[in-house]
Amino acid sequence: MLVYTAKRLLTLIPTLLAASILVFLFIHLIPGDPAAILLGDSATPEEIAALSAEMGFDQPLPVQYALWLGNVLQGDFGTSVFFGEPVLTVIGRGAETSILLATMTMVWIVVFGIPIGVLSASYQGRWVDQVTSGGAMLFASVPTFWLGLYLILIFSVWLGWFPSSGFPSLADEGGVTNLRYLLLPSLTLAAPNAALIVRLVRASMLDVAREDHVRTARAKGLHPATVAVRHIFRNALIAVAAAFGFTFAALVSEAVVTETVFSLPGIGRLVVQSILRRDYPVIQGVILVIVVLYTLINLAVDLAYARLDPRVSLK
């Protein structure tokens, strides 16, 4: 297992390097002098010339890439044009909100997605199944921001139950109760993803239910509930765990939209604002961080998959 993990980590390096080249080239694909782009509109010609020399923009591209990668590996992602602070500091500020939002969303996905999926599979073809599968597909078809806007309208504006926007840190006044700011956003973000998990749990439970060991379990007279939980559900969960990487990617994408709807100070909204502000160093930094995170999560999912399902051999 350890050897396999090490091997897999090594194979990640070429992918990550290639991805980093793409992220690096991003600055150079934007028309204009990269130093002027990195410094923003307010920079003087002297500043531009100084940064050009510092970053080696007069050097050939491969040399520049090596310099840039060296900086990145030391945690230096450059300086934000808008904030005038190191990119990593700017990203770090959004981390609390985004991590808490993602965690709450995952809780909803598990709490709603899995039981409803099990229910749907257990009543295959009956009305319970038709309502839950149809409902799941409907929720997967709803634009996240539209759902978010109406949740704000109903629960914040009309009923006044929840705050409509923003998120003060847990360290601020209010402490843990500040999580109420994230309730509507996390539900919004969870809806389409929980819907996908419902469909996935249902499909993989129906798959497993056709297998021989399930028939044997039934034939030896086990209670249907025992068969469903111990023989079908446990095996079906493997496929659900394997989809976690996919769910993470979907969460990242939709968090960009959700954080914008609810004006949350997270990393997703930072990306959008940085694009609108032409704050390219921040865009570059956030994308690099997310790509590395996503790649590592996919690796973790693969490893967990091999652990959960002994039939998957580690080669």
């Binding site: 934007i30 709803v142 634009p143 921001f145 990617a249 939709e254 939209v257 959008v272 694009i275 997310i290």
Partner: protein, 283 residues
């Protein structure tokens, strides 16, 4: 007649999917005949009638410029079809070709599929955002960006399916009878991929709508003046407390269309050759 038989076998006994198909046909008709169906010019500004409630003569009310929401919704169907069909074409042409060629020519595939792996290291909307930052806001660019994002998954799926077909006896037979690479790929393998490609197309069409609407909402999609359902939501969202109906119509239209496309895709997937069932995406 083959088409009629295909539709009957796929949609027979599936009421919801049939309704979805009918709805999509209506959207397509609205897109084609928009100038005939729309009672008003979707771009005409009438400051006196701004934010009027649904009724007569404005069936769906008017937006904050006083433009007729009903007419804009009908013209929005055009963008839905353009974005959906355009993304499907870009994704299937580039992704499909990369996947098929990669599976057929393993050496080329080793390079191309690594490239696809790298692109897939970027979550979908993020990849779209990176690409859109480099381009101007326009209809063509939005289609290109969404198409490229889904080209990656399409390439992976077609790679697997072509690999399976390559091992089939009929391919060996074609090689023995002296068929060239082009003929084997496009006359022997491709026809077997048509129905999974259709399923893939239907899911891409559905996802593309959601992605395009999200980009519109973020102000990074279609140019603001284009009448699309996503732009209608994006532009009118600050008026939601005063005129909640403004967001209901375009929202429901998007949901209905995506839902219908998903239902149609599901029906088509269930009717598909069982060999490919595991390969098709879109849970």
């Amino acid at each position: 007649m083959k088409l009629a038989a295909y539709i009957r076998s796929t949609f027979g006994g599936r009421k919801l999917a049939t309704i979805g198909l009918i709805w999509l046909c209506l959207v397509a008709l609205a897109a084609i005949f928009a100038p005939l169906l729309a009672p008003f010019d979707p771009y005409e500004i009438d400051p006196v009638a701004r934010l009027s409630e649904p009724g007569l003569p404005y069936l769906f009310g008017t937006d904050h410029f006083g433009r007729d929401t009903f007419s804009r919704a009908i013209y929005g169907a055009r963008m839905t079809v353009v974005i959906g069909a355009g993304s499907v074409i870009v994704a299937l042409l580039t992704g499909g070709l990369i996947g098929m060629l990669s599976a057929y020519f393993p050496r080329l595939g080793a390079v191309l599929m690594r490239g696809i792996d790298v692109l897939m290291a970027f979550p979908a909307l993020l990849l779209a955002l990176v690409l859109i930052t480099l381009l101007e806001r326009s209809v063509v660019n939005t289609v290109l960006v969404i198409g490229i994002v889904y080209a990656t998954t399409t390439a992976r799926i077609l790679f697997g399916m072509t690999l399976k077909l390559k091992g089939e006896v009929f391919v060996d037979a074609a090689i023995c009878s002296g068929a060239g690479h082009g003929s084997i790929l496009f006359r022997h393998i491709l026809p077997n991929l048509i129905s999974p490609l259709l399923v893939q197309a239907s899911f891409i069409f559905a996802f593309a709508q959601l992605q395009a609407a999200a980009l519109d909402f973020l102000g990074l999609g279609l140019p603001a003046e284009v009448a699309s359902w996503g732009n209608m939501l994006s532009e009118e969202r600050i008026y939601v407390t005063r005129a909640p109906w403004l967001l209901i119509y375009p929202g429901v239209l998007i949901i209905l269309s995506v839902f219908s496309m998903n239902l149609v895709g599901d029906a088509m997937r269930d009717a598909i050759d069982p060999r490919f069932k595991d390969d098709i995406a879109g849970v």
